[in-house]
Amino acid sequence: MAIDAPPHLEPPPEAPVPRDRGRGPIGLIVVVGLVLVAIGIVAFIAGGDEDPAATDAEQTSFYGRPVEPAIERPDFTLIGTDGQPYDFQAETQGQLTFLFFGYTNCPDVCPISMATLTDALSKLNRVGAKVVFVTTDPSRDTPERLAEWLRMFPVDVVGLTGSIEQLEAAQRAAGVTVAIAEAPDANGKYTVGHSSAMNVYTPDDLQHLSYPAGTVQSEWMRDIPRIVADPNWNTAKGVAVIGAYAGPSSGGSSAVYVSLANDGSDDVLAGVESPDATGASLHRTEGTTMVESDEIDLPTGSSLVMQPGGTHLMLEGLTREVAEGDTVRVVLRFRKAAPVTVEVPVLSFDDLAERMAE
């Protein structure tokens, strides 16, 4: 540390220093610079909050890239970290879903993209979203390895793997570039070139947005609540009940007629049960014969109208006799859509005859 030198040991005086030279414009430049920097500070402090005066366009825009026209939620089945098949479309239908293709040995994009998203979801209390990570490196990403790697993120993430062919098909179904593994180096290490996009599927089972690598937490925190709040994207599509009635019971049995419309993806009515009966089954007409059926197809855009003399549900072993004015409950189970419980009004035999005549 420096120490003062007493005056008598100071070096001899030097020539006078002309210290007034060059004062001209430099001082002004410094002042202007200081003012500019001060403006920057004010902007920084003021920029911490959302600008209330932002335009409508700014308010409605997303950091993600719009996908136009929107793409349907892909349909593929892979293997989960529990070793069981995982039907992506069925398991995530009607839910806000984030889908990413990557690999656990990825040195940069994968862990960072997953971390920024899951950190934001964690801070948003997850908002009921599902996050699915599909490996593009099945030889190294075993279900166990995937499960271990995904545990480092703060929210639950579904990890999926499969054969090369299955994974390529899944990537094509999701509309992303199919990953390519580079040649291994001398140590056997290799990287995998893959899509860095985060696909976002909304409850209407469509992908309206794709987020590029480099989306940071603050951007997710801003966008996710707005995605969830968008009324156009959050109307779940799929199978809807458009009508239902039942006949009076006879000998502990009753026929139930339900009409369904499917504006979602292909689905199947896969079963029926009732809390008001010991048995319930699907029946359909083949020619003039009524046969029990395990399931009934519900292709996209189709409707199924059950009616007397045609397809219907049969309840047997009713817990009580039912007549006009009563209701019975049936639970319809679908292959993809969530189960639907229907409160079915019971009509008279005359009303049934009229329906049959119609």
Binding site: I3, P13, V17, R19, D20, R23, V30, D108
Partner: protein
């Protein structure tokens, strides 16, 4: 020099988002700047040595300057420079401390008054000097530069380019030098004279104000800087962990250096007063001061941090 070599060599450390590797990398700009700094300094010293010779103070100044240049080099080159530019905000903050609290003051001490005179004459810098040696101006410049170079919308684009990264480092060094001018300027007349005001200045300029941005960084709920949030991770460290450490460093990382300097100022003042009192007491029968044989004489070649108007060379 082959084209391949030129492509492989970078000018300055910047954020690349590439995974970190411990393989050393050459940053040619760092070496050029260091060579220019040391070369110019050496050339000036050599010229002085040939004309009037170097006194002990000049030789001590060389040591300070070289130490400052070494600190600057360590903070700028691989690995610290690269870690701070593109990987860890906490290292970025550490580099800021090295630039402003170590390299800058050492280099300021290392510039003798004759060299500063020549420099300001050549670059017509007297006007800037006279402004920046004022304590309030120096404190503002130092802290405005601190805030400016930590604004997210400045850090992100600047750290993502070599020129921008170079500019940030240059601002740090220059603002650090300005910050130390009121207590270490080569022209002793211009130094803050009273030790207590010197300490107050150091505390406010280097200690108190940085606590505000430090607290802001520490307690921010989200990562503030895209550059560091999107950088490949170091182990289990999250960007939030890194940011909290960076904020803590900005708040308290300067304490060891700052309080060491403040303590040194007080100790020197106490010693100086003690010597003065002993001189007053040592008088002969006629009341004339008696010279002390055993009094430790301060080295004449060391620049002062307890400046006095009487020690300044005549101008």
């Amino acid at each position: 020099m082959s084209e391949q070599f030129l492509l492989a060599v970078d000018w300055w450390c910047q954020s690349t988002r590439a995974p970190w590797t411990w393989t050393p990398k050459l940053y040619i700009g760092v070496w050029i700047v260091m060579a220019a700094l040391l070369g110019t300094y050496g050339w000036a010293m050599r010229k002085r040595a040939r004309s009037v010779g170097l006194d002990a103070r000049d030789k001590r100044a060389i040591l300070w300057f070289v130490l400052g240049a070494l600190a600057l080099w360590a903070a700028t080159d691989w690995p610290l420079g690269l870690l701070g530019s593109g990987y860890l905000l906490s290292v970025h903050t550490t580099l800021y401390l090295i630039y402003t609290m170590v390299a800058a003051p050492l280099m300021v001490i290392g510039i003798p008054s004759w060299m500063a005179t020549n420099l300001f004459d050549r670059v017509r810098g007297w006007g800037v000097y006279r402004w920046s040696v004022k304590p309030w101006i120096a404190a503002i410049v130092l802290n405005v530069a601190l805030v400016f170079t930590h604004l997210p919308f400045i850090v992100d684009p600047f750290r993502s380019s070599q020129i921008g990264s170079f500019a940030l480092d240059a601002i740090w060094l220059l603002s650090g030098a300005v910050g130390w001018l009121p207590v270490l300027t080569p022209f002793r007349d211009d130094r803050i004279a009273a030790p207590i005001w010197k300490c107050v200045y150091l505390f406010i300029a280097f200690g108190a104000f940085p606590m505000l941005p430090g607290a802001f960084i520490t307690f921010s709920p989200l990562p503030l800087y895209r550059v560091y949030e999107l950088a490949p991770r170091f182990g289990d460290w999250t960007p939030e962990d890194d940011q909290q450490l960076a904020g803590a460093l900005m708040k308290v990382g300067n304490i060891p250096i700052l309080w060491t300097v403040i303590a040194a100022v007080f100790v020197k003042t106490a010693l100086s007063q003690n010597r003065s009192e002993r001189r007053v007491n040592l008088v002969d029968d006629d009341g004339r001061p008696v010279p002390e044989d055993d009094e430790a004489t301060p080295e004449p070649d060391v620049p002062s941090t307890v400046g006095s108007a009487s020690s300044a060379p005549a101008r």
